[in-house]
Amino acid sequence: MAVDTAGRLAPQKTAFYNDPVIRGFLYQGLVILLVVAAGYWLVTNAITNLRAQGKTFGFDFLGNTAGFDIAFKLIPYDRTSTYLDVFKVGLLNTLLVSVIGIIISTVLGFVLGIARLSRNWLVANIAAVYVEVTRNIPPLLQLFIWYFAVLKVMPPVKQSFNFGDMFFLNGRGFYGPVPIFDDKFVWTAVAFVVSIVAAVLLRRWAKLRLERTGQRFPVFLTALAIIVGLTTAVFLLSGTQVTFNLPALAGFNFRGGFAAPPELTALVVGLSIYHATFIGENVRAGIQAVSHGQTEAAQSLGLKDNDRLRLVIIPQAMRVIIPPTTSEYLSLAKNSSLGAAIAFPELVSIFSGTALNQAGRAIEIVGMTMAVYLTFSLLTSFLMNIYNARVALVER
């Protein structure tokens, strides 16, 4: 046997097909070949099929007139608008549902998570039952319940539920007032922004002072006083008038104010309630993940209850809560596509549904829809990576 100068055995000769490096190249070459072949097969099929149907591939159809109306839109849209406008309307509606849903489900989720940890036996158990029931029922079923069984059977317009002449609920939707501001309101807005900047500067100054002298400054109360005080003062001094555009019964329907169709209400309520249970579980897990030793350590350092929560417990709990909660937000945004089942005009419903049926551009339209969700997802993971890098435990 050959022995080299260091006294090691020389590697035995193996067949070239047993060499891991060569094998790696072989396998990868094979995979590439397969992927390329499959891609080629799919593309040629698509080309043949499109040619047989007399269609071409391209995005020029986006400029064509869509010719159908959309029940709920945030931007001007009518029958003469183009498919690109359909895309925009759908995208905005998806974003609207996602943003409102995320806000409500976060609030509800934190309440649920804290309720499950409550020392009150009744509250903790009701929260547990609620979470178990809600998260084991398909979100689509929950949407159906809210839409068909609750909102659709609301009374007709004439017998609407009336909440203080401001909010109305009936089978056609949910109506509420919209504030109207006059020209002077801009000063109030400016004052609000200025006061927030001031509050941020105050916080920075207070922190520097704390580090230098060890003296504390009541930052929160002062900042609140500045923001509320300055904004209110400017609001009153400038003589701004705020009127409310109230919904009122006119003919067969309500006029004025904002109107949320039952589809929107059902989608927002259903998704918020469903995803709130998952966020609640994240919150509970996050709080429980902070070991009791941390509480004891904070107490032995002499931190007050407030400071203990703010400086020790919450930052550590947030590190556990935020990553899964972000992916929950993402899945809420993805689940907003369930609106297609109750005819809420969001992206999948009007663009992948109605527009696709009319224009027949399956590849382009489904591709664009998927690209939108892909962008959401990539954006979220990008932000998440930044956050994770910031809060990651720094170990020796």
Partner: protein
């Protein structure tokens, strides 16, 4: 020395403190769990008021004022009670969809056979695991497909368009579970591979499927897939949905399994190499059995989402349980004021039983596997 120099010595006995409150029994339990502070007491009272409104409502709807027997006419009254007659009357449609009535024994057999194979598979102590696994993952699908579709051995051919109701939901779930598992394992192994190209392809696949909602995948399967296969070659609609669900959940499964692979200590890989096992042998005999055990709760969690998400096929026009319940009530003969509530209550019951038992199982396995780490 006088007494005055011992002023700090007490001359009289200190007053007796009141005895501590009971630390056992109902009173103590109530005091510590429901009325420990003012805010807690208020919370308890509010909750009790809420429950005293909710529970009678639920009882009256489900049992108290519900109509259990009779005809649909008994349901057309102005009380808020469930119309169980609607469920019993339309049960066959909700369970089997349009499946021919004379052939109901076929889905029934498949269902019972499935139960017989799954239950020992889920019990950690049941013997013959390998035989059981092979029976469930290889033999059972063949039997099930033969029985459900028929067309051979003198069985009447039942096209998949006739499948529906709970049967379709269960078939989609089982196919999704059985199919997504191996895909997930392969993608997870690929993502952990040393070969850059295979790794990149697996990452792209996983992230792409995870980024889009299942509905778009189902839309893609129903409108886009026909464009990508040679004309004249048609794939059944139900099978297209199955493919969509399986690949979609395969990507999710891959991420769950990757968690288990990453949790494996390096020593296990090295030990497998030291024994001279090649890649596949070390994966199959050493790594995967341990890695999969770590993530059983996660796997079951993914399965729960899968079961819930099979309801989405109703959007592409299939009559799964949810859509069957919706459709069952659309006939005027079955109209009643509470029929949609009743139908949904029934659907809630079925999905809850399915998913909750799965999640309890995940919890049970988690506790079982945790024993090693407890201090």
């Amino acid at each position: 020395m006088t007494d005055t120099s011992y002023q700090y010595v007490r001359h009289t006995e200190a007053p007796k403190l009141p005895p501590p409150g009971r630390s056992t029994g109902i009173i103590h339990w109530l005091r510590s769990n429901l009325f420990s502070s003012v805010s807690n007491t208020i919370l308890t009272i509010v909750t009790v008021i809420f429950l005293s409104w909710l529970l009678p409502l639920l009882y009256n709807f489900l049992i108290g004022r519900a109509v259990f027997t009779g005809t649909m006419d008994d349901c057309r009254v102005e009380t808020f009670g469930a119309c169980w007659v609607f469920i019993t009357g339309r049960a066959s449609f909700m369970f089997y969809g349009f499946y021919p009535m004379t052939e109901y024994w076929r889905p029934n057999t498949v269902f019972i056979l499935g139960l017989l194979l799954v239950i020992p598979l889920l019990m950690p102590k049941a013997p013959f695991k390998l035989a059981n696994l092979i029976a469930f993952f290889v033999v059972y699908p063949i039997i099930a497909v033969t029985l459900l579709i028929g067309g051979v051995f003198g069985l009447e051919h039942v096209p998949t368009e006739k499948w529906g109701g709970l049967m379709l939901t269960l078939v989609l779930s089982v196919v999704g579970v059985v199919g997504s598992f191996p895909i997930g394992i392969l993608l997870a192994l690929g993502r952990r591979s040393n070969m850059p190209i295979i790794k990149t392809i697996c990452i792209l696949t996983i992230e792409l499927w995870r980024a889009v909602p299942l509905i778009t995948v189902l839309f893609m399967a129903s409108v886009m897939l026909p464009l990508f296969v040679p004309s004249g070659f048609t794939v059944d609609k139900v099978i297209r949905a199955m493919i969509g669900i399986t690949i979609f959940y395969g990507a999710y499964m891959a991420e769950t399994i990757r968690g288990g692979l990453q949790a494996m200590p390096r020593g296990q890989f090295e030990a497998a190499s030291a024994l001279g096992l090649n890649y596949w042998k070390s994966m199959i005999f050493i790594i995967l059995p341990q890695a999969l055990k770590y993530v059983i709760p996660g796997i079951v969690g993914t399965f729960i989402s899968l079961v819930k998400d099979t309801s989405l096929v109703s959007i592409i026009g299939m009559f799964d349980l949810l859509n069957a319940i919706n459709a069952a009530g659309s006939d005027a003969a079955w109209a009643s004021p509470t029929k949609s509530f009743t139908g949904y209550a029934f659907a809630i019951g079925i999905f809850f039983v399915l998913c909750f038992s799965l999640s309890r199982y995940a919890k049970y396995m988690e506790n079982r596997l945790n024993t090693g780490h407890k201090r």
